[in-house]
């Protein structure tokens, strides 16, 4: 039998409660939480899915450190140690160990997606391994949000959540900015102005807690800071901006349209099937699913106007959609 202290409660109140629970050899903390659910507290809420450290669902704080419950072995604790399990501190609590991590999805939605090169159609992309391997490290991210949770910029300063996107989104920014075929040129400005990379003071806690051992600070945040320096803090570039007043021109353009203009027909030099698919056209960003005044999805089907969860692409899409508006070519097997 081992001693556990688990935070129980919801948004209104909560406290650490003590439990004594059986632990067997080879088990992880998540096993113990499941045994608690099975034997003592059937109403204990915890999020989990794969139990293999690949889905990133069971993020909690164990003895004060953000960890995956499924990857924390019970053998790392002494037999007489009381193990404290609490929900992630940085995000609003829903119940017990479950938190609302939608902050991360809001920030992810603000991130401009990969922008395909205007002169290439899908299938014509050619990249060399040396050009993409830096970005590949960041694709290992399982979105457990432990880095977002441990980052003191938002963990200790709620007010910074508006301006700061967090380490998970910085590796996304680095991945796209280092992508050999990404056509956007404003990613450095976006990282500085919209993501708030300047808030990071490189104390490296995100790297310390990453269960995928991504070198977030060394390989993503610092390179992005340096890329921002290329654009914003280089004295010669700064002088050029002042002399030629590029700042004012950009501000004017940004005020007119925050999203990049769709590629004009003249810039499109290639179409896979002339007249059919414009591979370079901007696809309208799908609207976010409808949320209530509290910013959350309706929790009960009684309150929602349709069965099931809202579509992540928005519930107001009219089918069939116009194929001219899509970057999609339906494959054909029979030539007619």
């Amino acid at each position: 039998m081992r001693n556990f202290r688990i935070w129980r409660g919801d948004a209104s109140s909560g406290a650490l409660e003590d439990y004594q629970v059986e632990v067997n050899e080879g088990e992880v903390v998540l096993d113990v939480l499941h045994r608690l659910q099975a034997t003592q507290t059937p109403d204990l809420a915890c999020r989990w899915n794969c139990k293999a450290g690949k889905c990133g669902s069971c993020s909690v704080e164990i003895n004060g450190m953000p960890k995956l419950a499924c990857m924390t072995r019970m053998s790392t604790f002494t037999a007489d140690e009381t193990i404290t399990v609490t929900p992630l501190r940085t995000f609003p609590v829903i119940r017990d160990l479950v938190t609302d991590v939608s902050y991360n999805y809001v920030k992810a939605r603000e991130m401009p997606a990969f922008s395909p090169p205007p002169d290439l159609a899908p299938g014509e992309y050619r990249m060399q391994q040396v050009d993409v391997e830096r970005s590949q490290e960041f694709r290992k991210c399982i979105e457990c949000f432990l880095c977002q949770n441990v980052c003191h910029v938002v963990r200790d300063h709620e007010e910074n959540k508006l301006a700061f996107a967090g380490p998970r989104l910085f590796i996304r920014a680095a991945e796209l900015d280092m992508h050999p075929l990404d056509a956007r040129t404003d990613r450095k400005e976006h990282t500085r102005d919209r993501q708030g990379v300047g808030y990071c003071n490189i104390t490296k806690c995100c790297t310390e807690v990453c269960p995928e051992h991504i070198k977030i600070t060394d390989n993503a945040i610092i390179p992005m800071k340096e890329r921002v320096v290329d654009r914003r803090y280089d004295p010669l570039v700064w002088l050029g901006r002042k002399i030629f007043r590029r700042d004012q021109v950009e501000q004017q353009a940004a005020a007119e349209d925050t999203t990049p203009a769709p590629a004009s027909p003249e810039t499109v030099t290639h179409r896979a099937s002339p007249g059919q698919v414009n591979w370079a056209q901007e696809i309208q960003v799908p609207p976010a699913p409808a949320v209530g005044p509290d910013g959350r999805f309706a929790m009960s089907e009684v309150l929602i106007d349709r069965a099931g969860a809202p579509s992540p692409f928005g519930d107001d899409v009219t089918f069939p959609v116009d194929p001219e508006q899509l970057r999609y070519l339906h494959p054909r097997t029979d030539e007619d």
Partner: protein, 278 residues
């Protein structure tokens, strides 16, 4: 995609409720960490404070920095540019008037200080140990407000790369001093002091070249490594030593203090240099 009512849909910028409002879990303890999280920042604080104290005392001592017999010059006085410098120790001329507040190496020391002060590793070290922002992971920030490196003066940390360019020159000067030390009053010779100087120069170069700014400006800023094979190879080399930047930072502090203490001890006559050759 054909959508209707896109204007009324909650876009990214309107989805602020999820970012700002609802309460977090009410946990009374400021941190639940039970390990000795205060130990690493404590050690760093003591180590940095001890080194800075030693270096400050040595720099303003203004004596025992040159071993005339073997031409050993401590890096704390290199290049010696003050008018009061020993002429043989001033390899690059003497042109700065001597004032009590100015060290003899008045050009190189501020550059070195700024380089280490804006270094990505030292920033982590002193933000954690001295500024407590945060002292350790999942331990609360010691300050109520936080704007990071977005405002003056911390926005100036972005000038790290320019200090890197200057420090390459200073490290080259230290290397030159090291070579000159092989030729003492009696001609070519090798002593323990030469080996200490050599060790120091090796670790100074490793620390300087493993710098994150060096990694970026020499190769990391490229989008297509395949079009720049030589810069890619150089970037690969820097990427190999860059993860050890912290170790090199500390080892080079250690070798700097060691070589300075050795030169001081030989110069003051407390010990005699162990000679291997001539």
């Amino acid at each position: 995609m054909t959508t209707t009512g896109a204007e009324s849909a909650p876009g990214p910028s309107k989805a602020q409720p999820a970012v700002t409002t609802r309460p977090r879990a009410a946990i009374a303890e400021r941190t639940l960490r039970k390990d000795r999280w205060w130990l690493p920042p404590g050690i760093v604080a003591i180590g940095l404070a001890a080194w800075v104290t030693y270096a400050t005392v040595r720099v303003f001592l203004k004596e025992n920095y040159w071993v005339a017999e073997h031409h050993y010059l401590t890096p704390f006085y290199s290049p010696c540019v003050s008018l009061e410098c020993i002429p043989e120790a001033a390899h690059f001329g003497r042109f700065v008037p001597d004032l009590p507040i100015l060290p003899y190496a008045v050009i190189s020391l501020p550059i070195l200080l700024l380089f280490r002060l804006t270094c990505y590793y030292y920033r982590k070290a002193y933000y954690r140990s001295f500024w407590l922002s945060p002292p350790a992971c999942a331990v609360p920030d010691g300050h109520a407000r936080y704007t990071g490196e977005t405002r003056f003066p911390l926005v100036l940390q972005n000038f790290h790369r320019y200090t890197f360019y200057l420090v390459v020159v200073i490290t080259a000067i230290n290397t030159w001093d090291m070579f000159l030390a092989f030729g003492g009053e009696a001609g070519f010779g090798i002593g323990l002091g030469n080996l200490v100087l050599l060790l120091n120069v090796i670790f100074l170069w490793l620390y300087t070249l493993s710098c994150h700014s060096c990694r970026h400006v020499t190769g990391g800023r490229l989008k297509h490594f395949s079009k720049h094979p030589i810069r890619y190879r150089w970037w690969t080399f820097v990427s190999r030593i860059n993860p050890k930047h912290m170790q090199f930072a500390w080892i080079s502090l250690g070798t700097l203090a060691l070589v300075d203490a050795y030169v001081m001890a030989v110069s003051a006559g407390w010990i005699t240099d162990l000679r291997f050759f001539n």
